[in-house]
């Protein structure tokens, strides 16, 4: 493959390009990849004009590309659906712009909403087709909403959110309306994010055949196919949004730029994709996107070392996921010339490398009182020598930082980000005293009001981020010197989650999500979701999800919740931002969680012959890099 490509572009590339330009120039006729020419001339595929929508979405890279090539990357283990979401599956109704500031049309051509953000009307692009050639219409949207609301279909999303259910009204083939019970001011951002992918993930024509409502033989057919029930068969054939097994079914029609060639399976050594001839985007010269014909994802069996070597060896064209670790950077830096790649910049969305979340809803009254004392948390913060951790663990990358919006965010507040970050043991001691810690035991550890030493057991999943253990080991020594004992409890992910509702954990560690998408992910700024581990029971009160353990929050938190409900109801972005700044002001005043340092920038591996790749990009789950950076416009030179 590579050999042939080199030849093509080495010798005949210029000719081919010239020919293409000539052909494109006179009529601006739509062009397709030469890979499809044969199929079209054989009549198995309609001409490109018939495949494209009436009004294709025009996306331009910095330069007009040439067709062909295979984008090679690597997945870590068979369950790495995230890799696919971030490269192939990001096709929702809307999409983010490159700066992650606003939303752009995607499958929906235009939209409007009412003033109190409860009604959203969308107009789909006319003539968009699924990868099997079937038109994409409101019927598919309606079917998806119906299936998602079926309890036998285990998908969860905003579509069937109990707190704020959405009602669909179909207007015509391409127009529909969502009506929410409560205001949903951030619905457009949701649709542009990864969560927006749910609504465009199922085709009625294909998926309805597995549901007994549409096919009375569904149960029998499921049994014949070796499944115990129609529900399992449906889940297998038409998995939700981005579930792993969704990419195991090559028959499932999709709207993605590439369609499955070799599917993801438990046995796959690689997952490959070929271009979707019905993809709905073109460049302004009328060339149907994507430029790159094929994707090739090698599947490593649970170790990233093989991927690292492959990248060093120039066998990876673009990748950030898995391999771009702190530790590997010097290696990749040195290997640039030999591997024929360069390093791109990746700005993480997370604000903080490590968030120490004390359990403010602790069931033990003594600890509950201590952890709820702001002085105690401030004292902890002052007892941490952040610069030392940055130097040791991150080779000087990053700066002392609290859990706060990143400098790139519109909500950046230097005071919020920097308060209590100076290392000052004396100040820490003063605050501890103010929090009621005076007596110390023989080891120099403060005694709590019940006479027990002030020991915080910190739950951490080292498998997720190895540097957490490194940082915590340093913090353990630093806090130990300040009179607080830190015990590391390195546990499994399942248990990590199971401990939360029980309410007896002391503290848990996670990264500082919501550094850029603060508005959508305010888990550390107020008790927002189950991920607000520091106030898990308050969050239950806010969401009403587990009333049996919900606890009425402190007044300041209730005020924040109130404000955030106003944010949700507000359709005007400016007003929303103002309201959210009030939430953050209370966060600054209350200082609920302790951060360590600003998450340093990461990097990506970009092959030198891969063009149109932006130098810098954000990275988040909701902003699934690099998909929002339009890899459909990338091409090989």
């Amino acid at each position: 493959m590579r050999m042939r490509k080199d030849n093509v572009f080495g010798l005949t590339g210029a000719v081919a390009l010239a020919a293409m330009m000539l052909a494109a120039a006179p009529a601006l006729a739509q062009q397709q990849s030469p890979a499809l020419d044969e199929l079209v001339s054989a009549g198995t595929l309609p001409p490109v004009a018939e495949r494209l929508p009436v009004n294709p979405l025009v996306v331009d890279g910095p330069s007009v590309g040439t067709y062909g090539g295979t984008w090679r990357m690597g997945m870590n283990g068979g369950g790495d659906n995230g890799m696919i979401v971030k490269t192939v599956a990001y096709e929702g109704l809307l999409r983010y712009d490159h700066e992650w500031k606003g939303v752009l049309p995607n499958l929906a051509e235009r939209w409007e909403s009412n003033a109190d953000a409860t009604e959203y009307t969308f107009k789909l692009r006319d003539g968009v087709k699924w990868s099997d050639g079937t038109p994409f219409t409101t019927e598919d949207i309606a079917f998806t909403v119906e299936i998602y609301n079926d309890p036998d279909y285990p998908a969860n999303s905003w579509i069937d959110n109990k707190n704020n259910p959405a009602t669909l009204t179909v207007i015509d083939d391409t127009s529909f309306k969502f009506t929410f019970a409560k205001p949903n001011g951030m619905f457009l951002e949701t649709l542009a994010s990864t969560d927006g992918l749910h609504i465009t993930s199922l085709q009625k024509k294909y998926c309805s055949q597995f549901h007994p409502t549409y096919n009375e033989n569904a149960e029998a057919e499921a049994k014949a196919a070796g499944f115990d029930s129609w529900a399992l068969y449906l889940q297998d054939r038409c998995a939700w949004g981005w579930e792993t097994i969704r990419f195991s079914n090559p028959d499932l029609p999709v709207l993605y730029p590439w369609v499955i060639d070799q599917p993801l399976s438990a046995n796959a050594a690689r997952v490959t994709w070929k271009r979707n001839p019905y993809y709905f985007k073109t460049d302004s010269a009328g060339n149907q996107l994507p430029y790159i014909d094929n994707l090739d994802m090698r599947v490593s069996q649970g170790g990233v070392e093989e991927l690292t070597l492959a990248a060093l060896n120039g066998e990876i064209d673009f990748q950030e996921r898995h391999i771009a670790t702190n530790v590997n950077k010097p290696l990749f830096f040195d290997g640039q010339e030999a591997g024929g790649y360069h390093l791109g910049e990746v700005i993480p969305s997370a604000s903080n490398t490590l968030v120490l979340q004390l359990n403010l809803n602790h069931l033990d009254p003594v600890k509950n009182a201590l952890y709820n004392s702001k002085d105690f948390r401030v004292g902890l913060s002052h007892a941490i020598d952040r610069q030392e951790i940055i130097d040791v663990v991150f080779t000087g990358q990053g700066e002392p930082f609290q859990v706060a919006p990143r400098p790139e965010s519109q909500f950046y507040d230097e005071e919020l980000a920097k308060q209590y970050t100076q290392f000052d043991p004396d100040l820490a001691a003063q605050h501890f005293e103010a929090a009621g810690l005076v007596e110390r035991n023989g080891d120099g550890i403060y005694l709590m009001s019940d006479g027990n030493p002030a020991k915080i057991t910190v739950d951490v999943i080292s498998a997720l981020r190895p540097e957490w253990i490194d940082m915590l080991e340093i913090m353990q020594l630093q806090l130990g010197a300040a009179g607080i004992e830190l015990e590391l409890n390195n546990i499994d992910r399942t248990l990590f989650y199971e401990k939360r509702p029980a309410g007896e954990f002391d503290a848990q560690i996670w990264a500082g999500d919501g550094g850029i998408e603060a508005l959508q992910e305010p888990r550390y700024y107020f008790p927002f979701s189950d991920e607000s581990v520091w106030a898990y029971r308050w969050a239950q009160w806010f969401n009403g999800t587990r009333p049996e353990i919900a606890v009425e929050p402190a007044d300041w938190a209730k005020e924040q919740m109130d404000l955030y409900n106003q944010v949700r109801a507000e359709a005007d972005p400016e007003k929303r931002a103002d309201l959210f700044r009030q939430v953050l002001a209370i966060t600054k005043e209350q200082f609920p969680v302790v951060g360590v340092s600003l998450m340093p920038n990461s990097y990506s591996i970009v092959r030198n012959n891969l063009k149109n790749v932006p130098d810098s990009m954000f990275n988040a789950w909701l902003f699934p890099t690099p998909a929002p950076m339009d890899p459909v416009t990338w091409y090989f030179e």
Partner: protein, 380 residues
Amino acid sequence: MATETMHLDVTHPVAIKRPARESQFGLMWRRFKRHKLAVVSLWIAALFYAVALFAEFLAPVDPSAYSARYTYAPPQGLHFVAVNEDGGWEFGPYVYGYKTEIDPVALRRTFVIDEEVRLPVRFFAESKPYNLFGFIPLTTKFIGVENPRDPFYILGADRLGRDMLSRLIHGTRISLSIGLAGVTLSLFFGIVIGGFAGYYGGWFDSATMRVVEFIRSMPTIPLWLGLAAAMPKDWSALQTYFAITLILSLIGWTELARVVRGRFLSLRTEDFVTAAQLDGASDWRIITRHMVPSFMSHIIAAATLAIPGMILAETALSFLGLGLQAPIVSWGTLLQDAQNIRTLASAPWLLAPGVCVVVIILAMNFFGDGLRDAADPHGR
């Protein structure tokens, strides 16, 4: 005529046997000493165990003491002879200093050993107070730099600037004690179960042997994986440590049980056992006083040969992330840290635990082999 034959052989009175134990061990030791390699291996193994025992004293610094300035610092080595400015010789241990630069783009520190700077090293250097074995307060370490602020990384530093030598020494304690504890447990199960099976025979023997065969036919790693995954996840590091030991010995006892059973089976019919039985000695007494001593040497050899397997198993389990985990320092966890390409490419000294594993396993194998040969020059 033939009926009159008299065999000459039986006329010699048999020398009175000295107590079986002593003579056997004396003989064994003499034969053992003939295996030069085994003797050397014994010394190496003894050295390792001594290191494990006196870890706190021998490790120059605390294994968790980090230093931002010396992340991935290469080994300084330890030097004894120096040429001073006048061209004269100077003796006395010292290490070289480092010249460091930070490369913010490549995100690393580069170190050059600075041969201009000689940092004197002292044996029995003064240190911060610590407790040997957890209860003997000491303020002296075996070795240390004269000025505690100077870098001292004989074997280099890891990604946090922690002293590899100290970590290795403390890791030795965990890894070797797991091997020893695991074998002790296996030995206990093996002798009791294998002994009863071999002594009583019959259905108990066949049942035991079926169980042993069955356990041995289970692939060990899946078994370990399953058991390790089944361990309560909220156990502390120490509990995990004991659980791992137990898991290792749960499988390890089978081999020893087989050896013990085989010995028992053949000993059961020996005259001295019959004699003891006729004397009315209890089974327990016969087993513990007569039979076990008579093949103790074999057991010791078999047990010695089982230790390397345990050590390897610990490293393998820890490597897969199912055994011990940081912050516990064992060879396995150290190797888990080192198992990336970066280490191989730019910090190969982090593979030192791997070298230790190889050396101790070689030593234990040679030692065990020598013991086995000595215990039974012809058999296996």
